[in-house]
């Protein structure tokens, strides 16, 4: 019951995708995808590789440009308008599969760069904010190291903290644990679970079905660039409607 207590079912969605299509050259990566995400909702997107799930969330903060359909974030439409892109990106944090930390900057500098450059936060205040989030992800002692001196799990937690320093309302996770060694997956998932419990709106592309089961409000299954089905986790795992979903779940839940 507590799971969806942050979700306000009546309010307008914070993210609304309407018939979004995307082509890479002549290859269609997204086929008229519709998706609504409400404030505080946790959505897990899964599907076989090449199904367009990463492309889907990369369209939301315009790391990829969709060619048809509409994307609204907090009512603002994502178009070529540079000002809109900037406003939307300030509201959305993103965590990547390969962390993408800035290797020439220390952990602390990675975290303070965004607030200092885009929000004119003073250095001391930015550092205070950075240390706050480093404590949240439980690695304040690594603040003065360089990213490559950390383990993969630590780097990914720094990346999460870097996004949080921008104080976003929505967080996108693009396979955040896929590049990690098994023993490090848990520490990153734990951080994400804490974040979910704090009420953050999250869209997570992942193969971690345990995470989906415990954290998600809804699970979206994609294949061949289409949204095949979307349901709350109990229904999705217990009684999938579509044949393709069943086949996919059979494959990844077998062992």
């Amino acid at each position: 019951m507590t799971q969806s207590s942050f979700t306000d079912q009546t309010a307008a969605p914070v993210i609304r995708m309407e018939n979004v299509s995307k082509w890479f050259g002549s290859f269609q990566a997204l086929h008229e995808v519709n998706l609504d995400v409400r404030n505080g909702e946790r959505v897990v997107v899964c599907g076989p590789s090449g199904s367009g799930k990463s492309t889907l969330i990369r369209c939301i903060n315009r790391l990829e440009v969709h060619q048809s359909g509409q994307i609204f974030v907090k009512g603002l439409e994502m178009t070529d308008n540079v000002k809109n892109i900037d406003t939307i990106r300030r509201n959305i944090g993103m965590v990547f599969q390969n962390f993408n930390l800035f290797p020439h900057l220390t952990v602390l500098e990675n975290l303070t760069l965004g607030p200092m450059l885009t929000k004119q936060v003073k250095k001391s205040a930015a550092e205070e904010l950075a240390m706050h989030f480093l404590r949240k992800v439980r690695i304040p002692e690594q603040a003065h190291k360089y990213p490559l001196q950390l383990s993969g799990g630590q780097q990914q937690r720094v990346a999460i903290a870097r996004s949080l320093c921008m104080e976003p309302e929505i967080m996108l996770f693009d396979e955040p644990t896929s590049a990690l060694d098994p023993e490090m997956i848990k520490e990153v998932l734990d951080t994400m679970i804490e974040l979910a419990e704090s009420g953050m709106t999250m869209i997570v592309v992942t193969h971690e079905m345990g995470f989906a089961r415990t954290v998600a409000d809804s699970v979206v299954f994609m294949a061949d660039g289409r949204k095949i089905e979307s349901a709350p986790p109990e229904e999705f795992f217990g009684n999938p409607r579509e044949e393709r979903t069943r086949a996919f779940l059979d494959q990844i839940l077998k062992h």
Binding site: R89, G93, M94, F96, L113, T118
Partner: protein
């Protein structure tokens, strides 16, 4: 193989990482490990010994170090270093008025101090460097030109020697590097106009010999200026060398830019950094670190390209030496004079590469 247990092998000594390798063992494994290697060692040693003996015999034992009389040199079988003692002032300072040479010495001291300070990370602080450069460039300007404080006015056409080489080189790098960065960025810019301008600029100028660019800067460029307007020849030639330098350097920097993974741009975009913020704070620092060895390469080449000022009749250190060696009394000792000039170039070139190596170490240790 069956009786291993009957012949127990002596337990090998524990490995000691700090143990010194005995000299004979080292010689055997590094210089005489096979017949061919021994032969090669002997031949190389023979050539080296012969060469060192020649240098010692010609350069030291039979050399003349100090004399005002060229005949003393002619009588000796060794080198005549006296020619350098005798002619060092016109070689080092060119046509600059003889009585004013102290100004150039002072200028070089100020120049070297400024450069050394600017290159040390501990002084990398704009509040120190900006005033330093303002003071240093004004002081150097006053010393070189004169015309104030009772100093005699010396036009750029009389500048020469090592100070001229230093100024040309510094000007080339200071003007050329920003152009190079802009051209490299332009070539990868999202705007098609910036891209085509950069490509045309780089390809057109890179395909032309430096001497042609200098010829255009000196002889053709003034034709396009309205009558009465004149741009200083020395400035024109500095910009010419700088642009040539920039075109090569731009391609080096582009290589560095291409090595930056796409994820870095995406991460920067995800924290809503603008194009210029991303370029300046994320991309360029990494790209320049990657291509630092190649950048150094072109900077050293630029130092030597300054000798092309010969085509506008300015006497940099090389041309000044050639001119000085026209003196019939001393002209037969041109080898010693040119060896001296080579040593000066070597000194600056080697200092640059040592510094670049130090910078690579600083980067590796995360200091910069």
């Amino acid at each position: 193989m069956t009786s291993v247990s009957q012949h127990p092998v002596a337990k090998p000594a524990a490995y000691n990482p700090d143990a010194k390798i005995p000299a004979l063992v080292w010689l055997k494994s590094n210089l005489f490990s096979s017949v061919w290697q021994s032969l090669l060692t002997v031949i190389v040693a023979a050539v080296l010994i012969r060469f060192c003996w020649f240098v010692l015999d010609w350069g030291v034992i039979n050399a003349v170090f100090y004399t005002a009389d060229p005949d003393t040199c002619r009588a000796a079988t060794g080198a005549c270093w006296a020619v350098i003692v005798e002619k060092h002032r016109p070689m080092l300072f060119g046509l600059y008025p003889y009585a004013e040479h102290w100004r150039l010495v002072l200028m070089m001291v100020i120049y070297l101090v400024t450069i050394v300070v600017s290159l040390s990370p501990r002084f990398w602080n704009l509040r120190l460097l900006v005033p330093l450069w303002i003071v240093a460039t004004s002081a150097i300007g006053v010393l070189m030109f004169g015309g104030v404080f009772g100093l005699r006015y010396v036009p750029t056409s009389e500048w020469g020697g090592l100070p001229l080489t230093m100024l040309l080189f510094t000007g080339t790098v200071l003007i050329g590097m920003p152009i190079a960065v802009l051209l490299a960025l332009g070539r990868r810019a999202p705007l098609p106009v910036a891209r085509s301008v950069s490509v045309v600029f780089i390809e057109a100028l890179r395909g032309v010999p430096l001497i042609t660019i200098l010829f255009v800067a000196v002889n053709v460029f003034p034709l396009f200026l309205p009558a009465g307007v004149e741009v200083n020849k020395l400035l024109r030639i500095t910009i010419g060398i700088a642009i040539f330098f920039a075109c090569y350097q731009a391609e080096v920097i582009r290589g560095g830019l291409q090595a930056i993974p796409r994820g870095q741009y995406e991460a920067a975009a995800s924290i809503s950094l603008s194009y210029w913020q991303t370029t300046r704070r994320i991309i360029l620092p990494q790209a320049l670190r990657i291509c630092l060895p190649a950048i150094t390469n072109h900077i050293i080449a630029a130092m030597k390209n300054t000798s092309f000022v010969i085509i506008i009749g300015l006497f940099d250190i090389l041309t000044a030496t050639t001119a000085v060696m026209q003196d019939p009394l001393w002209r037969s000792f041109y080898i010693e004079a040119y060896l001296f000039v080579a040593l000066v170039y070597l000194f600056f070139g080697y200092a640059l590469s040592l510094y670049a190596r130090q910078v690579e170490k600083w980067i590796a240790s995360g200091r910069i």
